[in-house]
Symmetry: C2
Subunit: 387 residues, 2 copies
C-alpha cells in the first residue's frame, strides 16, 4: 500500500503539551514527583449526582442510540438553563447535543465553511479551531491580540481583517489561554460589527460558570442570531463524558441534524443521562463550591507567579489558566518548559500551543491542582529561576 | 446574521429512514402499534458484564479524559482479540480507539484524502461513507454492484473504475444493506488489485461476529498494510456507548493520533471501560447466544419475505439485514415504505438510503426485533400486498 498523507496534515499541529505530558509521565514512571500545571482539565472527579444518574441509566438498560441531536429531555434541560442563568428564551429544538464541544465546533464549521472561506480567530487562542477550519479547506485568519485589547478582538480589528472571503468570527469568552472575558457591551459591539459584514458569529462559552468576580454574559443575551458553543466538560466537570452543545438559530437546525446523523450518529447515551443531572440543585451546590476553590487557587497562583518575576499581561477573569510572559527568563518558552520539567518536575504548557504571535515569550499555567501541590511547584520554580 | 450554508450540504443527504422513523414515532404516540423492521440497531440491551464494568468505572471515579487514541488497556484487549479471533499479530499501538466507527471513518479519510481525490465505494452501500468523502472535498465514486458479484467489488471493477485521481477503496464485509460477505480469497484478490494501483485499502468489518454459516475473514489475515475499521456497536451490542476502532499500519499512527486530539480529544471514558469487558468469556457467551437468535430471526424473515413475493437477490451471510427487490409491487420503494407504514404500521428502510443504483426497486428489512414481532409484521404485509 502506498503511503499517502493528505496535505492538510502538514498544517495541523499536535498539542505540544502532549510532548511535555508524555515526558512527565515517563519521569513519573521512573519515580519522579511531578507537579502538573499543564493540564486543561479539572482535577475533581465528576460530581456524585451526575455519576449516580449515569449509573442509574445503565441499570435501567438505557444503552441504545439517542436521536442524533440528543435526548429531548437533555435539550429541554439545557434550554431551561439559559432561561434561569441568562434570562433568555431558547426553544429546545435550537439545542444540538454533540460529542463534546470538539464535536460542536467541527459540526458547526462543516455546515458553514466552503473551501477558501476565511474565519477570524484570535492568536493566542484555542489551537483546534484553526485546525477545524483547515480540515474543511477553509482559511483560519489568526488575528494577533495582546493586553491592549484584553486579548480579545474589537470591532476595529474585525473591520481591519474582514475581507470578501471572510465568513465567520469565532471568539471565546472567557478565553483559553488567557482567561480574559468580554463584557456585555463588548459582546454586543462585536455582534454588531459582524452583522455589518453580513457574517456569522460563533461564540465559545465553554468556560462560562468558571468566573471570579465579573458575571459572564452569553452572546444570546444580545442576539438570537448567533451560534453559541458550550460543554459539560469544564464548569460541570464532565471531561471524560464527552458532551457539549450548540445553541443554533432556528434556520440552521435541519442542516445541523442532517450532518450530525452522518458525523456522529449520536452522543454517548450514558453521558447524556448524566448531563441531565448537571443542572440539579444538588450538583449546582457542589459546582459552586468547586468554583470557589478554583478562585482561591487562581488568587494563590497569580500572586506567586508575579512574585517569581513572570509577567501577567492580564489578570484572568475566568477559566483555570494564567497566561504568563517569560521573556525575562528565556526567548524560547518551549525549550524553557522542557528544561523546567527535566530539572524541577514541574509541567507547564508552552505558548506555541496557542498560536505563533509572541508564542515563544509565553507560557500557560493551569490551576487545576490543589494549592498544596502548587506551593510545591512554586518552590521548585523559585529555586530553578535563581540559578 | 446572514444565512450561510456551505455548498457541501446540498450533496449530503439525511438518512431517509429518519423520516419513516419520525412518522412511526408520531403514529406510536397516537396509540398505533408499530412493527419496527427499519432499525439498524440490535434490540438487546447491552450485555450485563459490560454494563457492570461501566458502572464500576464510574463508582471508581474514572471520569477524566483518556489519551486521544484510547485507554492502553483497551488497545491491548483489542489487539489480543485479533490474535484469538483471526490469529494475526497486532501491536496495541496500531489500535486507535474512536467515538464509534463514524469517528473512525471520518478520522481515517481526513488523514488520507485531498480535495479532488477519489474513493471507490459500492452502490448500494453505507451512505455516510460518501458524505465523509464529500466533507473533505473529495469525490466518492459509487460503483454499481448487484447480485452477479454478490453486491461486492471485484478486481475487474476496481481496474475499470480506478483512475489517476483515485486514492482509496472502501469496502464492507459483511455489507450494509445486503449482508453479503467476501471470502478470504476474494479479500486477498481485492487487496492485490489495490496494491497494483498503489492505493489505500480500507475495510469496514463492523458486522464481523454477526455471521451465519461462513466465517468472516479479516483483511488483516492477508495483509498488514490495510486499514480495518470496527466497532463495539453491532456484534458487541454497545450502540449507545459510541466506541469503535481503527487498526492502522504503523506508518500512520502519529498522524491519526495528532488528528484525533484535534477532532475528538478522546472517546467517552465510561464507554471505554465498558468495552474492555466486551471480550470477557462471560460477555462472549451472551453474545454467542444472541448471534444464534439473530440467525433464527434471519432464517424466519428470509423465508417469510420470499413467500410474500419479494425478491432476495442474495441470501445474507451476516449483519442483520435483508435487502429485497420490490419491483413486483412498486417502482417507487420510498413511497411504498410510506404507504406500508401508514396502512399497516410496519416500518421498513427505503433503498434510497443506500445509494441510487436501482434504489427505487429495493427495500431493507432489519431483523433487529423478535420473531413474534416479525410474525405480526409479516401478517400485516401479507394482507397489504393482497389488496
Amino acid at each position: 500500500m502506498a503511503e499517502i498523507i493528505a496535505k492538510r496534515m502538514s498544517q495541523i499541529q499536535p498539542f505540544y503539551v502532549m510532548n511535555i505530558l508524555a515526558k512527565a509521565k515517563a519521569m513519573e514512571a521512573q519515580g519522579h514527583d511531578i507537579v502538573h500545571l499543564e493540564i486543561g482539565e479539572p482535577d475533581f472527579v465528576t460530581a456524585k449526582p451526575i455519576v449516580d444518574a449515569g449509573i442509574h441509566s445503565l441499570n435501567a438498560g438505557l444503552t441504545h442510540y439517542t436521536p442524533a441531536v440528543g435526548l429531548a429531555s437533555l435539550r429541554e434541560a439545557i434550554a431551561e438553563f439559559y432561561h434561569t442563568t441568562y434570562q433568555v428564551s431558547i426553544n429546545p429544538e435550537q439545542v444540538i447535543v454533540t460529542p463534546g464541544s470538539s464535536g460542536a465546533l467541527q459540526l458547526l464549521l462543516s455546515i458553514l465553511i466552503n473551501p477558501g472561506d476565511k474565519v477570524l480567530l484570535t492568536d493566542p487562542g484555542y489551537p483546534c479551531n484553526r485546525h477545524f477550519v483547515r480540515l474543511l479547506e477553509g482559511e483560519a485568519v489568526n488575528v494577533k491580540v495582546d493586553a491592549t485589547t484584553n486579548y480579545q478582538l474589537t470591532p476595529a480589528l474585525i473591520k481591519q481583517y474582514w475581507d470578501a472571503k471572510t465568513r465567520a468570527l469565532l471568539i471565546a469568552s472567557p478565553s483559553n489561554p488567557t482567561g480574559a472575558m468580554l463584557s456585555g457591551d463588548e459582546l454586543q459591539s462585536l455582534i454588531s460589527q459582524v452583522n455589518k459584514h453580513q457574517g456569522v458569529m460563533i461564540v465559545d462559552e465553554i468556560y462560562h460558570g468558571l468566573c471570579y468576580g465579573k458575571k459572564a454574559h452569553s452572546a444570546l443575551e444580545y442576539s438570537d442570531d448567533v451560534f453559541v458553543v458550550n460543554s459539560f466538560s469544564k464548569y460541570f466537570g464532565m471531561t471524560g463524558w464527552r458532551v457539549g452543545w450548540i445553541i443554533s438559530p432556528e434556520a440552521y437546525i435541519v442542516e445541523l441534524d442532517k450532518l450530525a446523523q452522518n458525523l456522529f450518529l449520536a452522543t454517548s447515551t450514558t453521558s447524556q443521562y448524566g448531563a441531565i443531572e448537571a443542572f440539579s440543585p444538588a450538583t449546582m451546590n457542589i459546582l459552586e463550591d468547586r468554583r470557589c476553590q478554583f478562585q482561591q487557587r487562581r488568587n494563590f497562583l497569580l500572586k506567586a507567579l508575579k512574585n517569581l518575576g513572570f509577567g501577567v499581561p492580564v489578570d484572568p477573569d475566568g477559566a483555570f489558566y494564567i497566561y504568563c510572559n517569560c521573556e525575562k527568563f528565556t526567548d524560547d518558552s518551549f525549550l524553557f518548559c522542557q528544561k523546567i520539567l527535566e530539572e524541577t518536575g514541574v509541567a507547564i504548557t508552552p505558548g506555541k500551543d496557542f498560536g505563533i504571535h509572541n508564542a515563544s515569550k509565553h507560557l500557560r499555567f493551569a490551576y487545576t491542582t490543589s494549592i498544596e501541590n502548587m506551593e510545591k511547584g512554586i518552590e521548585r520554580l523559585a529555586k530553578f529561576l535563581k540559578h
